[in-house]
């Protein structure tokens, strides 16, 4: 009833090609942006910003990047952690070695470095496919882990291999307060996500998806697999690299290679799959699921157990958390194998028919 597109006729293709062709969606998005940019900064607590919203934003960004490679172009990647690491360490080096380097530029240069690194490790994808490609990307992962531990130059000769940054500012504004950090990440995310969305709904995006779905047929209609795959690696690792730099600079402040370990790579892949492969919005859902849910569970479960009078040990809570989290993943997949984004769109479709079931 409330979600009808009846009567909304598109008279031009331009109108039909908008990101959100349906008026309700546009209104919803506008409201969402308003909430994110205005309401949240006014209302949220420090903890919410630092421990939930900022990591959520950064991981969403990274997941958008990974989704481009894995979801849109179909190239399995377990090296996202490495791309994040390259982004972070490269940005760090630009930032501390070049006097007066603006933060934003350093972050973007981090992305560019990660892009180059990603393209090198993307080369095997021209020959190796599917799960087998995971080996190439894992090689990137472990190599990066090792490189940042072993090559002291990258860590500005800090003996421990751990580096840190402080006194961050953009355009002369200090980035110390959580709200500032949040708004900074949010703006970057909004801009990059919009650009990414434009890419995936345009010609390049179609090339990626074509390669993903059926590479031989794609070649026959004139798509060059090499160009498509490497461009996906490039765009993806650029975004992931920027996210990595944010993770180091904004969230952690100080980090060591372990901050970008293979666990991180897996986590990102999971976000993409659970959120929805080939959906920019899915990346957000996935990030929320993987980042926020465990935190939520760890606070909610003890409360729940307490309220029914059970007193589980702290270890018990952690274990229960793992079980519930695992169970939820399976449950969501059974309800909708194509991820949360698909679930969302089916929900909307139902709403469209409402109150009729079909």
């Amino acid at each position: 009833m409330f979600y009808r597109e009846n009567g909304q006729f598109k008279t031009t293709y331009r109108a039909d090609q908008q990101i959100l062709p349906i008026a309700q969606d546009r209104r919803f998005m506008l409201a969402l942006l308003l909430v994110a940019f205005v309401a949240v900064p006014m209302g949220a607590s420090d903890y919410l910003f630092r421990a939930i919203l900022i990591p959520f934003l950064i991981f969403s960004l990274a997941a958008v990047g990974v989704n481009i490679l894995v979801g849109f172009c179909g190239q399995i990647s377990l090296g996202s952690g490495a791309f994040m690491a390259v982004g972070a360490y490269a940005a760090y080096n630009f930032f501390v070695r070049i006097e007066g380097m603006p933060l934003l530029v350093a972050l973007l240069l981090g992305g560019v470095s990660s892009m180059l690194f990603g393209m090198v490790f993307g080369l095997p994808s021209l020959r190796v496919k599917g799960l087998y490609l995971a080996v190439a990307t894992l090689a990137a992962q472990f190599f990066a882990d090792w490189m940042f531990l072993r090559v002291q130059w990258f860590t500005n000769n800090s003996p421990s291999g751990s580096v840190s940054v402080s006194n961050l500012q953009v355009f002369g504004l200090s980035l110390e307060s959580p709200v500032a950090k949040y708004l900074f990440c949010l703006s970057l995310l909004a801009v990059i996500a919009l650009l990414a969305k434009n890419l995936v709904r345009g010609a390049v995006g179609r090339e990626w998806m074509a390669i993903r779905d059926m590479d031989v047929a794609a070649a026959v209609i004139g798509i060059r697999p090499m160009y498509a795959k490497l461009s996906a690696f490039a765009v993806s690792s650029f975004i992931v690299g920027v996210a990595g730099a944010l993770w180091g600079f904004i969230y952690l402040g100080a980090w060591e290679p372990a901050a970008f370990s293979v666990d991180q790579s897996f986590k990102l892949l999971f976000m993409v799959i659970i959120g929805g492969m080939g959906s920019i919005m899915g990346s957000f859902f996935g990030a929320a699921f993987i980042v926020v849910l465990p935190i939520f569970l760890s606070q909610f479960l003890p409360a729940l157990a307490g309220s029914v009078g059970i007193n589980i040990s702290t270890a018990g809570v952690s274990h229960a958390e793992l079980m519930v989290f695992g169970g939820l993943i399976v449950w969501f997949l059974i309800v909708e194998p194509h991820g949360l984004a698909k679930l969302w769109s089916i929900g909307k479709q139902k709403l469209r028919l409402w109150p009729f079931p079909h």
Partner: protein
Amino acid sequence: MAFFLETLLGGLMAGMLYSLVALGFVLIFKASGVFNFAQGAMVLFAALAMARFAEWIPLYLGIANPIVANVLAFGGAGVVMFVVAWIIERLVLRHLVNQEGTTLLMATLGITYFMEGLGQTLFGSSIYKIDIGMPKDPVMILESTFEGGILINKEDLYAALIAAALVALLSVFFQKTATGRALRAVADDHQAAQSIGIPLNRIWVIVWCVAGVVALVAGMIWGSKLGVQFSLTTVALRALPVVILGGLTSVPGAIVGGLIIGVGEKLSEVYLGPFVGGGIEIWFAYVLALGFLLIRPQGLFGEKIIDRV
């Protein structure tokens, strides 16, 4: 020279141990096209079950003979793995017939978390011991040929033998029986397999159960080497290049891959490592596997990747 041989042998035996874990991946992939991310968790779970049973059986049943206790514990853990397989089929796989590989991969991730939580809840999270009487002290061979002899780790040797036997058994099963063929059919196309009457449900229980037992053997051997605790799951990551190098669908591939990776890894660490500060073996293993893949993209013994229009 002696040292080179020692390294080589060490690599071979480490490789066999990887093969054992790799085998679990191959089994499930071959039989259902699922890349089972939970294999590491299954190894841990099985090992935990066995370690705790071996501890509890003498305690509660009063069986003092360690051999009997260990056999019973192994049996008990085997039953546990069967139950696990059955539950996974019932609650997860059955509902995801005909879904894409990535979806199934993700489901196995859910299973991983669940089993990690459950395993630690049921069996605890300290270090436990599996003592199946493996000899721990080294022996020297060829002492007459080389000065100081060549050191052999007996425990590794036994473990390698067990792994080899298991692999031989499973290869025969896959190559020679009708069930083996049916499993391959299922991996190719769930729906078509169903349409000709292959009972997916039963097949999956069987395969996961076999994989569970393989995990148990792997867990037992690794557990007796390392002690049973959470980090056992990470051996899965070491086994990954093995699986892929050998070919995701090949049982013998798991062995050959294991040997190549084991040897390559150890030689690289020992001979190249010192020049670049060490710690290279893990990425070297992956790069080595990648090198092979560039020549054969489906792994050494994997089925050819079909792309046809």
